[in-house]
Amino acid sequence: MSNKKLTFKTAIDMEKDKFIELVTKYLSNEANSEEKEQLRILLEDEEYSKLFTWISGIWHDYKNDDEPRFNFETGLEKLTSKIEQHEPGFSWIAEEFSGKKISTKRRKKRFFSVFITVAIIFIFSFVSIYYFALREQPQAVNVFNEKITQPGQKSILTLFDGTKITLNAGSKLRYPTHFGESSREVYLEGEAYFEVVRNTKKPFIVHTGKISTTVLGTKFNVTAYPDMEKIKVSLVEGKVSVSGTNKNKKRFKVNLVPKQQYVFDMKRKSGKVKEFNILKEIGWKDNTFIFDNDPLETVLRKLGRAFGVKLEVADKNAKDYKLKANFQNESFWTIIETIKYATELDYVIVSKNNELEKVIFKKPGK
């Protein structure tokens, strides 16, 4: 029996190998611009983009915690005593310390040559920084992309740094094609769930009107629909800080820890920190809706946006009916029937050109 194994590499396998090679180079900062472009093209595929997010997550999260900590003071003591054994009278403080004896004349000459050298380095650095600053100018003009979701539509985006954003229905996200040198900033209207790749040198900032949420790398949800009175930031993992201006025109900054949510009331211009239920806030990603004594009007607005169908209540006092329900991946009509059963309201279907336009709930008998 021969031990030969026949291995066929399919075209897909080869592409995946290439993908991994590009990702590795990119994460190690060894990729040239051609390779970065190749990677960008491959990332348009959803599967690759998910895999990329996964890999960069591990890459950035990897820490060697099980190594001992080393104290610099201890090390400095060791080095100092060692040097002193060879050069008595050694000192860290003296700028021009030398263990050898130098005559005054030589000292002056030495000082002068050091001065010239430092001056040259200074000028050179200044010139090169100026040169590079100029060259960077074209990129300072930032091109912004926009992703818009219609009611009933969800969308997943992966940014170039590996950050994954799930955009909920009826939302708009503005993001630059290239992040800046010191931060990664995007603009949101609506709702989105962020899984930000960790980068301590470039904090990730989500702007929602006058409120900004700043993170280093973490998972959180932001709700900021224009028709709602509240802006919510719900933290699943990591650390974020939310900042803005309150009613006294003062800047504020609030730090959140996981399971905390910051709710900012747009009318009153004040906010507070509360705990939140993950499934309730983020369930929308998996079509899970949880209502806990929410008024019917709010329930219908949320569901209407998710499914892309207008849902209304005809009777004024029925708008405040409180609903307690838990829908996990249920179909639209199952949900409508459940609401009918729970509220004892009837519903009427309105279609336009054979397409469902809206569903109106009203008290029976009218």
Partner: protein, 197 residues
């Protein structure tokens, strides 16, 4: 902090050559912890790591007039630390397995079985264990790139291998990590729902 006034390695070395002890201290501070951890990887002793690193800097200071560095200062420092660490091990004839084996073909990475995967208390734990399962040299190279921030060229210099080898090892490491993607992801979702119920 990329302040214009922050001196880079080459500037510090130049100053050290001009008897500037403050520059030596700055350089020492910049690399101390990283180099100690790197030495620790070989010698497995805090005491010895500190000795090795301080000796390297003692040497730089005492020979500051003659020091010629062909590659980057970073590679030079890591190489020196590595060489002294290995010399220590040879002298002590201790734990020779710590010295990486260059016979790469015969080292197969262990895989994560589903049963083993259930032992992880969370995803971070899983990640650490995946990296631990890489063969020694691959793990070392991954660590040097990821933690010590060395470029492929510098890693090649420090370990005396080719840049190609470094790149291949890195790709294999990332491949190994990504091969656990679907397993860990589905496991994580399973645990997530378990917790909710």
């Amino acid at each position: 902090m990329n302040s214009f006034l922050q001196k880079d390695d080459n500037e510090l070395l130049l100053l050290i050559k001009q008897n500037n002890a403050k520059a030596l201290k700055k350089l020492y501070e910049k690399y101390y912890e990283r180099l100690c951890k790197f030495s620790y990887y070989y010698v497995k002793s805090i005491e010895i790591s500190e000795e090795v690193v301080s000796d390297v800097f003692l040497n730089i200071w005492l020979n500051r007039d003659n020091v010629e560095i062909k590659s980057s200062l970073k590679s030079y420092l890591f190489s020196s630390v590595r060489n002294r660490s290995i010399n220590y091990l040879i002298k002590e004839k201790r734990n020779l397995e710590n010295i990486e084996v260059f016979d790469l073909e015969n080292i197969k990475a262990a895989s994560v079985t589903p049963y083993e995967a259930l032992k992880y208390k969370d995803l971070e734990d899983a990640i650490k264990s995946i990296i631990q399962k890489l063969p020694p040299q691959r793990r070392l190279i991954f660590r040097m790139s990821r933690i010590d921030g060395l470029k492929y060229k510098e890693i090649a210099e420090v370990l005396s291998i080719s840049v190609n080898t470094v790149q291949n090892q890195m790709v294999k490491a990332v491949k190994f990590i990504s091969s656990h993607y679907s397993l860990i992801k589905s496991l994580f979702i399973y645990l997530f729902f378990l917790v909710l119920k």
